[in-house]
């Protein structure tokens, strides 16, 4: 087993990985950019190494800087988290060359799955159904337009590399293609350094259901059931739950077997997620392979909640050469879990990302609720990274019990100083269609009017509290310019 692991990431996922390493008695090395010198993940590690400037390309995406940090600290393994270098097969190979274990799949399996085109061919060969689509070898506008016409509108343009919804565009008519191609290509190139595009048929009213898999280096692959991720905005997940209300036991068995078959065909080891689109409901619903994410997913905690396992621990064990810690038969789903992603964004301004100081930030603590976060009160949310502040995961014996716990926890999750989507998540959790489990990937767009009310005029109670704070009552204060501000220092001796 490793005695020292470097975590090549930041934010909540770095914190989450560091915590499991500490529990396993493994020393930890954090890396950080100039923007993150005081970040939570830095303070939780045994050692921390500065790796460069605030821009991701200068730090969290710098293979040279991270490998040097691993060498200098004597780390034996690197956990990449998600995003950044997690699905970069060249980085995985560079780790191996440097004598480091990359905690993830082999570079070969990543290369096979990292490209959507290669992954599709692999799925077809393994007998896993796929959505009709094409990746033209000729990437000219004319060839892409021809491919889209052949697939049939509406189509979805996707970057061949990468994921997370970045650069994906739904196009409903041929006339809109040239503009969409240019924008998708630019965003793909900016995010992944590769502008290759892929065209597929847009499945209408689809549900997004994914399967967690874990493989070891001895050829064993198990699945840990599904996650329903249909609540999305611009292809970014907002709320995930497990089990899916669309998946019957018979469908679960078919999809689980398909996920395992695909992972085995790729020679996959470590944690991965096989994404499917589901059309229809019941035992006879259709499912199509979308892509395989060769990493730990953001939403992995809901799987941990219903199966009772620690996926990061399992990742570390199989990376060290040990077998998958459970048989398929030992894995069961108990109860229901819901995750909501708490993001620094303003739903009223088109979900514009928000940056600034968290003047007040208090996480809820109650039975059945877990909060994975990478921030703290008084800390600054930087413009350089994505807007995910925390994930709130609620478990309950039933879906309804989990839903009510999630709602209660959000009602006690004050975040002030920057706008977040907490009010939107509250309304989402009480929406009639969500309560009924009637979901599809267009849910947030379709229901936007009721989820983002136009009227945000202050209530009389809120105004009254604000008036007390302004008169010098015991509110806490912060300014965006003062990042060294300490909330506790300002509280002493205040009387009202």
């Amino acid at each position: 087993m490793f005695t020292r692991i470097l975590v090549a990431n930041r934010g909540e996922i770095a914190v989450r990985i560091l915590r499991t390493c500490r529990v396993m008695g493994i020393e930890t090395v954090a890396v950080y950019s100039d923007a993150d010198a005081r970040a939570l993940h830095v303070t939780l590690a045994d050692q921390a190494v500065r790796i460069g400037g605030a821009a991701p390309a200068e730090s969290y995406l710098s293979q040279t800087a991270i490998l040097e940090a691993a060498r200098a600290t004597g780390a034996q393994a690197v956990h990449p988290g998600y995003g950044f270098l997690s699905e970069n097969d060249a980085f995985a190979a560079a780790c191996a060359t440097a004598g480091l274990t990359f905690i993830g799949p082999s570079p070969d399996a990543m290369a096979k799955l990292g490209s959507k085109t290669a992954a599709r061919r692999l799925a077809e060969a393994a007998g896993v159904p796929v959505v009709p689509g094409a990746v033209p070898d000729d990437q000219s506008d004319a060839a892409l337009i021809a491919a889209a016409t052949q697939v049939g509108f509406p189509v979805l343009l996707k970057p061949s590399e990468g994921g997370g919804g970045i650069g994906m565009k739904a196009v409903h008519a041929a006339a809109d293609l040239p503009g969409a191609i240019a924008q998708a290509r630019r965003e793909a190139d900016a995010a992944f350094g590769d502008g290759t595009l892929y065209v597929e048929r847009l499945v209408t009213k689809p549900r997004h259901v994914e399967f967690q898999v874990l493989g070891d280096r001895h050829g064993t692959v198990v699945h840990l059931f599904e996650r329903e991720c249909s609540i999305q905005r611009r292809h970014q997940k907002v709320l995930e739950e497990t089990p899916s209300t669309a998946v019957t036991p018979a469908l679960r068995a078919r999809m689980g077997a398909a996920a395992v078959a695909l992972a085995k065909a790729a020679g996959y080891s470590n944690a991965g997620t096989v994404e499917f689109l589901v059309e229809g409901t019941g035992d006879r619903a259709s499912f199509y392979f979308l892509e395989m994410n060769a990493r730990l997913q953001v939403e992995h905690p809901i799987t941990e909640a219903v199966t009772g396992v620690d996926l990061v621990r399992a990742q570390i064990e199989v990376a060290a050469g040990r077998p998958v810690p459970w048989t398929q038969e030992q894995l069961t789903q108990r109860g229901h879990a819901i995750e909501v992603r708490v993001c620094a964004e303003d739903p009223r301004q088109g979900f514009l990302p928000q940056a600034g100081v968290l003047a007040l930030y208090r996480e809820p603590a109650m039975p059945g609720v877990r909060v994975d976060s990478g921030v703290y009160e008084g800390g600054e949310v930087s413009v350089h990274y994505d807007s995910l502040l925390a994930k709130l995961v609620a478990w309950g014996e039933t879906r309804e019990a989990a839903r009510l716990r999630a709602r209660e926890a959000l009602a006690h999750y004050p975040i002030l100083g920057i706008r977040t989507n907490v009010p939107l998540l509250m309304r989402l959790l009480t929406h009639d269609r969500f309560v009924a489990g009637d979901l599809d990937t267009h849910f947030l767009d379709t229901e936007a009017a009721s989820l983002i009310p136009a009227d945000d005029s202050p209530t009389a109670d809120a105004r009254a509290v604000a008036a007390i704070v302004r008169r010098g009552g015991s509110g806490v204060t912060a300014t965006a310019a003062d990042t060294s501000w300490d909330p506790w220092a300002s509280l002493g001796g205040r009387r009202v």
Binding site: A355, D461, R463, R470
Partner: protein, 141 residues
């Protein structure tokens, strides 16, 4: 603040008892029912969290509508300029993308609020720009 706002605030605070609990927490009590609110001052506004809803009350009245056109030619948040689509002297139509910004992995297009001619470009590609600072100037409407 209007008189109406002030009256409501006073009326409400007569009925709702608000007890500061320290550390930004407040106990609201009304007709025997209790709730906890959280409040903080940040960015020239007072922020209140109550029952999962957030209220932001600006300390100064919002700026006049005339400022709106300028605002649309500034970054809405700290962002990086990824592309400048226009040059000084160029005629643009309402809705044309003038500048593309990127922040937190999102592309934010800055569009022309009206038909106009570009007078000056006040940023460069790759530059990190701050909210409210003009990115370019259009001629008078």
């Amino acid at each position: 603040m209007s008189d109406r706002t002030g009256d409501l605030s006073r009326a409400e605070s007569r009925e709702t008892t608000i007890t500061p609990l320290g550390a930004g927490r407040f106990l609201l009590s009304r007709d025997g029912r209790q709730r906890v609110a959280y409040a903080a001052q940040a960015g020239g506004a007072t922020w209140v969290f109550l029952d999962g809803e957030v209220t932001v009350i600006a300390l100064a009245p919002a700026r006049a509508i005339a400022a709106d056109e300028h605002a649309s030619l500034a970054a809405p948040m700290p962002a990086t300029v990824v592309a400048i689509a226009v040059q000084p002297g160029q005629k643009v139509a309402a809705g044309d993308v003038l500048i593309r910004l990127e922040a937190m992995k999102m592309e934010l297009p800055v569009r022309s609020p009206r038909d106009a001619t570009v007078v000056a470009v006040k940023c460069r590609e790759g530059e990190l720009v701050q909210p409210g600072v003009p990115l370019l100037e259009l001629d008078e409407a």
